[in-house]
């Protein structure tokens, strides 16, 4: 009897382990909006994912097809995608389709970001994968035009405006650049940099008198900004062509300039305003869709991605920084060194005023961003009255916050109900 039982158990064990072997050989399809530029995709495949014991098929994609494909698989109820990688903002709108990852070990991963990954629910919907932020970059030629007494590592908005003016006067054409193009990430500048620096708020004081000052200052900066900025999406290009000398952008969108000509450029912190040096992290998460063909293998890949060694390789490949505590080796690419120094100076500054990414907005995340982008397009591009635009956009913002029932996040003080817009 016992022998029979053991044999049976062994047979089952063999059977299941065979099953396990065959499933673990299945490729995990890693569907990502990040590392989409071809050379980054290549580095992801060859240097980052090659160390994973299972098989991975890394397929980066533009946001449009990326979202469409996930929604299609969710609607059809079956799919090929095993792991999703994308920005916090894109994850928000997909929260219904993501599996709970509460059982994934997140020790060592930045706690604030893990909390963000819950997307305002009690489930862990994504695990932080990498982070970045926005900094400023300048061609060294620009430094001689710095206004009197200004320290480039601790600039104020006032000094930045004066600097941009000096450059425009000296060269005859505006040399400040801002990524206001269709794919530029300008909304995060207004949300996480301009507003916190002038109003110590992102939502509540949207239409305050301080906000009016902020927009008027930005308007002045814009008059010394290269007018072609409305076509810029990746400032590294214009920095390299020297169409602009000083620019604000996402660290990974400055990386080419830093890597190609490290001796010609410097990275430095975003400027400070009356209420401190506002800045905001960019968080990229990895999530598993509910339709993943092999949940366990996907989670195994996910854990592999948050290992310190993998995080360092990822940083090399994509210029996105780790979300776990790691000691960076000395031989990192120039982009990492230059932007790393700027980030350290920014977050370590006495007047640092860090904000958080929007949470709890669900499907309305896109419309929330549009409030800021529309304010920019109407005030700066269309030249409409600042006060009128702010009042008008504040109504939209208020109805979004109420419809989403989203409480405030930093730097706004916590609220009981939906975050108020004054």
């Amino acid at each position: 009897m016992t022998i029979k039982k053991t044999a049976l158990a062994a047979a089952i064990a063999v059977g299941t382990s065979v099953g396990a072997v065959s499933t673990s050989q299945a490729e995990v399809l890693f569907w990502s909006t990040q590392a989409n530029p071809i050379e980054e995709a290549q580095a992801m495949r060859e240097n980052v994912l090659s160390g994973f014991e299972g098989e991975v098929d890394f397929q980066p994609s533009e946001t449009g097809p990326w979202l469409t494909r996930i929604e299609a698989e969710a609607t059809a109820g079956s799919g090929k995608i095993g792991l999703l990688g994308s920005l916090h903002g894109n994850m928000i709108s997909l929260s219904d389709h993501l599996a709970d990852l509460s059982d994934v070990d997140t020790t060592g991963v930045n706690g604030t970001f893990v909390e963000l990954g819950k997307l305002g629910t009690d489930q862990q919907l994504y695990i932080p994968w990498m982070q970045a932020t926005y900094i400023m970059a300048a061609n060294k030629k620009a430094l001689e035009h710095l206004p009197e007494g200004a320290d480039v590592m601790a600039l104020t908005y006032e000094q930045l405006i004066a600097w941009a003016k000096n450059m425009a006067d000296a060269t005859g054409s505006p040399k400040f650049g801002f990524p206001a193009g269709p794919k530029g990430l300008k909304h995060r500048f207004f949300q996480g940099y301009l507003y916190p620096s002038y109003t110590n708020s992102m939502v509540t004081k949207f239409a305050s008198a301080e906000a009016e000052t902020a927009w008027n200052d930005f308007k002045e900066l814009w008059s010394y900004t290269n007018p072609a900025s409305t076509g810029y999406s990746f400032m590294q290009e214009q920095l390299l062509t020297e169409e602009v000398w000083v620019a604000f952008d996402h660290t990974s969108r400055l990386a080419d300039a830093f890597n190609q000509r490290p001796d010609d450029f410097i990275g430095f912190p975003a400027p400070a305003g009356p209420t401190g040096r506002g800045f905001m992290p960019v968080v990229v998460g990895v999530a598993v869709p509910k339709t993943a063909p092999d949940m366990d293998e996907a989670k195994a890949l996910l854990s592999y991605l948050t290992k310190p060694e993998t995080q360092i390789e990822t940083l090399r490949a994509t210029s996105f920084f780790p979300v776990v505590d790691v000691e960076l080796p000395d031989d990192m690419p120039s982009a990492v060194q230059l932007s790393g120094a700027a980030i350290a100076a920014m977050s370590g500054a006495d007047d640092a005023n860090p904000g958080l990414l929007p949470v709890g907005l669900g499907d309305l995340g896109g419309k929330f961003n549009a409030v800021y982008v529309d304010a920019f397009e109407r005030i700066i591009l269309a030249g409409q009255d600042v006060r009128a635009v702010l009042d008008d956009q504040a109504d939209t913002l208020r109805s979004i916050m109420e419809e989403a029932n989203a409480p405030c996040w930093a730097p706004d003080a916590a609220s009981d109900g939906p975050c108020p817009v004054e």
Partner: protein, 272 residues
């Protein structure tokens, strides 16, 4: 004498405008190739180089990039299937539109155009759901069917105008000589329109070759070249952007060059 004089001026006007039009088409492509064959530093430099330095760094990145070959092969397969399907479905419809009066003719003509008048990115979602459910997802045939739909208006309308240009009397003459409708079509009409049909097949090929969005959603493991390359091109450094553009343009140019005799053979059909 005066007649000679004016015709001489006219001849020269024609010659000059021919050359100008050629330059108009070729110069932008020349710029693309110049940028492709320059080093990364030269691409971002100002003033720009006006002739290439034959630096192969950017282009060789693509040629050695793993997966480009497979993606190109997928593109060729999808485009070829699209060619065949669009003619198989489009030419009979073009013939019917040109030869018969029937109820719903105008409706059909508008319907066929609607496929191009509605943004594909929105259609892609329900289509992908359908494909996943019926197992067409991530297949060459599935994508080719979508591209056929995109090429169909061209196929139908081009063949329609071809057939319309051939006098019905020709066919009727064949009937009176004892041919049935099918024989008359095959022996009299088909030889006349075949080159034109080939031209519309070439259109189908090119449409399929350049389509990005549908390919990016409906293929994953069997990605076509645009889905594989073009997607990340926007974010790539400038020199790779241009090289990528060239990698996409050159095969299409070669293809059109190879089939040009069909594309232009339709010229002068009626002159024989």
């Amino acid at each position: 004498m005066t007649v000679d004089g004016t015709s001489k001026t006219m001849l020269w006007t024609f010659r000059i405008s021919t050359v100008v039009l050629c330059l108009w088409v070729l110069v932008p492509i020349y710029f693309l190739l110049t940028n492709t064959l320059s080093s990364p530093e030269e691409v971002v430099a100002f003033p720009k180089r006006v002739w290439p330095s034959f630096n192969l760094e950017s282009i060789s990145f693509f040629l050695t990039f793993s997966g480009v070959g497979a993606a190109m092969w997928n593109s060729v397969l999808v485009a070829s299937v699209t060619m065949v399907l669009s003619i198989a479905a489009g030419a009979p419809a073009g013939y019917a539109l040109s030869r018969f009066d029937f109820k719903g003719k105008s409706f059909y003509r508008v319907l066929i155009l609607m496929t191009r008048a509605f943004p594909l990115p929105l259609l892609a979602l329900p289509l992908a759901v359908l494909y996943i459910r019926i197992g067409l997802d991530d297949t060459i045939l599935g994508l080719a069917l979508l591209h056929t739909m995109l090429a169909l208006p061209f196929a139908v309308l081009i063949t329609f105008s071809l057939f319309s240009g051939i006098p019905v009397e020709l066919e009727e003459a064949a009937w009176t000589l004892g041919c049935n409708r099918f024989q008359a079509f095959r022996k009299v009409i088909l030889p006349l329109v075949l080159p034109g049909i080939t031209a519309s097949a070439i259109f189908a090929f090119v449409i399929s070759w350049n389509e990005v969005f549908g390919a990016a959603v409906l293929t994953i493991e069997n990605r076509t070249l645009p889905a594989f390359l073009l997607q990340g091109l926007d974010q790539a450094p400038l020199h790779l952007k241009f090289a990528g553009g060239a990698v996409l343009v050159i095969p299409a140019l070669i293809f059109i060059f190879m089939v040009r005799k069909y594309l232009f053979a339709m010229w002068g059909i009626a002159n024989r």
